[in-house]
């Protein structure tokens, strides 16, 4: 599977089974790596990359099946076995990124589960399985609080959505004012900074800014978080 950021040129023939070795457009795996890094750096939950993910999962499955078949074949040559090793190693590394991507999302989903349940707009960014888990998790924590604490309190102290001045809200939301490092992938349209001035990023520029400022640019794919 081609697609890892190529380090120093290694004189290895491109392994069969790669994504049509086009140089210019991003490969699936490069796309996933970009979204994975974005997800890891963004305070908010980003839209799930369902297409990239399912294409890669398909690929992993086919690759694994092919490897199994070749390994079992007594006629496989020595060179083929060496290539199988490479492919397997590559598959393991792709799996790692996929797994980390999914787990990063899962972490945020659990952290903001009650916010997600209350906000349809965020729900659209989740896959069905993620949304189901968010609902179950929110329900689970609420019932744990209920049986451990709330049901022993007087009735009007039992709510989980108190809104008291000077205390943090009871439903945690992503902090969009958190600073992120942003790398411009293209020429970007101007964005407005919190102090009212505008900023226009050139291609290749890296800036440190509150997440809210670049939220739109990130959604359009003009920038990536680094």
């Amino acid at each position: 599977m081609a697609g890892l950021p190529s380090g120093p040129a290694v004189p290895v023939e491109p392994i069969a089974l790669d994504f049509g070795a086009a140089a210019a457009p991003e490969t699936l795996f490069q796309q996933l790596v970009r979204h994975w890094l974005n997800e890891r750096h963004a305070p908010d939950i980003l839209p799930i990359q369902a297409e990239v993910l399912s294409a890669l999962l398909d690929h992993i499955r086919r690759q694994t099946d092919t490897v199994q078949a070749l390994r079992g074949d007594p006629d496989s040559s020595e060179a083929e076995h060496a290539r199988i090793m490479l492919v397997q190693t590559e598959v393991e590394r792709v799996k790692f990124v996929v797994r980390s991507y999914i787990r990063t999302r899962l972490y945020k989903i659990e952290k903001f589960a009650r916010h997600i349940v209350a906000t349809p707009e965020v729900q659209e960014r989740l896959s069905q399985a993620e949304l189901d888990h968010a609902r179950r998790f929110a329900q689970l924590t609420e019932s744990h609080f209920k049986v451990s604490v709330l049901q022993a309190l007087p009735p009007h102290q039992q709510r989980l959505d108190d809104n008291t001045p000077f205390t943090p809200p009871m439903i945690s939301e992503p902090d969009k004012s958190r600073a992120v490092f942003v790398h411009a992938r293209d020429e970007c349209p101007p964005v407005r900074l919190p102090d009212g001035t505008t900023m226009q990023m050139q291609k290749g520029q890296i800036v440190l800014t509150p997440y809210a400022v670049v939220e739109q640019l990130l959604a359009m794919g003009n920038v990536e978080l680094v």
Binding site: M85, F96, R103, H133, R136, S148, V149, Q157, D162, M170
Partner: protein, 206 residues
């Protein structure tokens, strides 16, 4: 009630939060402090009574407003105690979830630890069981391709690993067929096949 000793409202709740903080700093899960939780809840009920009395006193005499500052004080204490109670429980859930994932989402391995079990409240065990069920559901969606519960701390370097068996773990399916791991033996196996056994302490990398 606070007159008998020098305690203020909220002192006990502060102790709860301090326990959470100690737990984070020492990276351990302390024993569930049932008695302290109950005491804080009792304080909440007392405060509720004080509030009701104050309101009743005011209703009896429309001109009397002397208790308004006291009401504010009680109400603040009530809200603060409640948040401390919830924070204490939420913090414990977070820690439990961390421990669960470190073991590769293996609930039986987590609950088999009697030492840990003794530090949990019964509700926390229930929580873990239901949480595990939800995670298993989610994990099932990817089961054809990969195990989302496997480690995400270190990217894989080698395909294979040389391991030593520390505890008998019976017959395991691997890429090379089934292997019966017995204590003291060494194997060269595919990492992905046995990573969960390393995490759970059955195997050790040599």
């Amino acid at each position: 009630m606070a007159s008998a000793d020098s305690r203020q409202f909220g002192d006990l709740a502060t102790q709860l939060v301090q326990e959470s903080r100690r737990s984070t700093l020492t990276d351990t899960l302390l024993k569930y402090n049932d008695s302290l939780v109950r005491t804080v809840i009792r304080e909440q009920r007392n405060l509720e009574e004080l509030i009701n009395n104050a309101i009743a006193a005011q209703a009896d005499n429309a001109a009397f407003t002397g208790d308004a500052p006291a009401l504010l004080l009680y109400q603040t204490a009530v809200l603060r105690n409640k948040r401390c109670l919830l924070a204490y429980h939420a913090h414990r859930l977070d820690r439990l979830k961390d421990m669960y994932w470190v073991l590769g989402a293996a609930l039986p391995a987590l609950l088999a630890d009697g030492d840990l079990r003794a530090r949990l409240s019964p509700h926390e065990v229930d929580f873990l069981r239901e949480y595990n069920a939800s995670v298993m559901d989610f994990r099932g969606d990817f089961s054809a391709e990969l195990d989302v519960a496997a480690s995400v701390t270190h990217p894989p370097r080698d395909l294979h690993a040389l391991v030593r068996v520390v505890r008998d773990c019976g017959v395991i399916q691997t890429e090379l067929g089934t292997i019966d791991f017995r204590k003291g033996q060494r194997f060269m196996v595919r990492r992905a096949d046995i990573e969960h056994l390393i995490v759970q302490g059955y195997l050790e990398e040599v």
